[in-house]
Symmetry: C2
Subunit: 205 residues, 2 copies
Amino acid sequence: MSVERGLLIVLSGPSGVGKGTIRKALFERENHNFSYSISMTTRNMRQGEEDGKDYYFVSKEEFLKRIDEGKFLEHAEFVGNYYGTPLDKVTEQMDKGKEVVLEIEVDGAMQVKKKMPESILIFILPPTKNALYERLKGRGTESEDVILKRIERSNLELGYAKNYDYVVVNDEVDKAVDKIIEIINAEHCKTNRFLDNYLEKINEK
Amino acid sequence: MSVERGLLIVLSGPSGVGKGTIRKALFERENHNFSYSISMTTRNMRQGEEDGKDYYFVSKEEFLKRIDEGKFLEHAEFVGNYYGTPLDKVTEQMDKGKEVVLEIEVDGAMQVKKKMPESILIFILPPTKNALYERLKGRGTESEDVILKRIERSNLELGYAKNYDYVVVNDEVDKAVDKIIEIINAEHCKTNRFLDNYLEKINEK
């Protein structure tokens, strides 16, 4: 019996919903086999950054060549620089049985679903409309104007939730993480993922 | 916000796999809202049985009329008697937020999926090929001949597992029950089940 393939988990959600906190708490859970994916970028390496650790740093020419060759699971341009998730690195981790977690924007998530329909798309929802405002305000890093713009964008982003496989409300981080773990465990019980491997295994015995 | 609708969970699996034990353990779990479905039958009421508790007892004429009217989620004939799951009783429980659990044969499960595509079909698998034989033998109630016939049938039944949504290996009852609970919780996070209710809720606040 070959090792059971890991899943690709995509987490998205509006600004201020607490995706980063959830992802961090997810990786702290025991008995799980999560793996980050390192992005590739054309932006300049900053002091203290390491190639292959913070990002894979490549030239714009190299990046565009890789887009043409279909080597990205998803990619985007942001203020003149390209960012993308290398497909081969992700499948390599999955083949080793790791659950690869991507925390990306809705646009990237839609690219992932198209390229790898078996990926699991989870949209994190705020418990109330006010929660986003309070969280962004609480950070104290942005002006009221910027916060209101982000909230407006968040409301737009909520409209994309319907394209995701699952939605999880972040009322408490631990509960949200429990739900994500349950989703992952349930997905591993899906007949199309598990049955062939099982039949192979019991026929070996 | 209306109450979140319960799920219809269908459990099947080969003879001797331990479905009954799993169902019993499932109902003993706390913080869950499981509900049995009482079957309808044309067989005679036995001493000590109660109408509406053990079964709904009806005449054959009444049963056949109900089949014609599409009032069963699934039904079957067994040694001259009819048995069926009344659709209205199941949806009534689900509307109250109960998770209705049906432990039925593969043929009935296929009828349920056709009639109610949103139902969750779970097939219980033995940990090894020998496990079924040992469990049936351990009961000490059947001859070697009967056991071998049931094993043969079980192997046939395993072939139906591919038509189920999920498969769960019964290596340990508690672990199998954990997995079923995880499947139920994950299914409640499915976007098409949860999102509309959520959007309704946060817009009320």
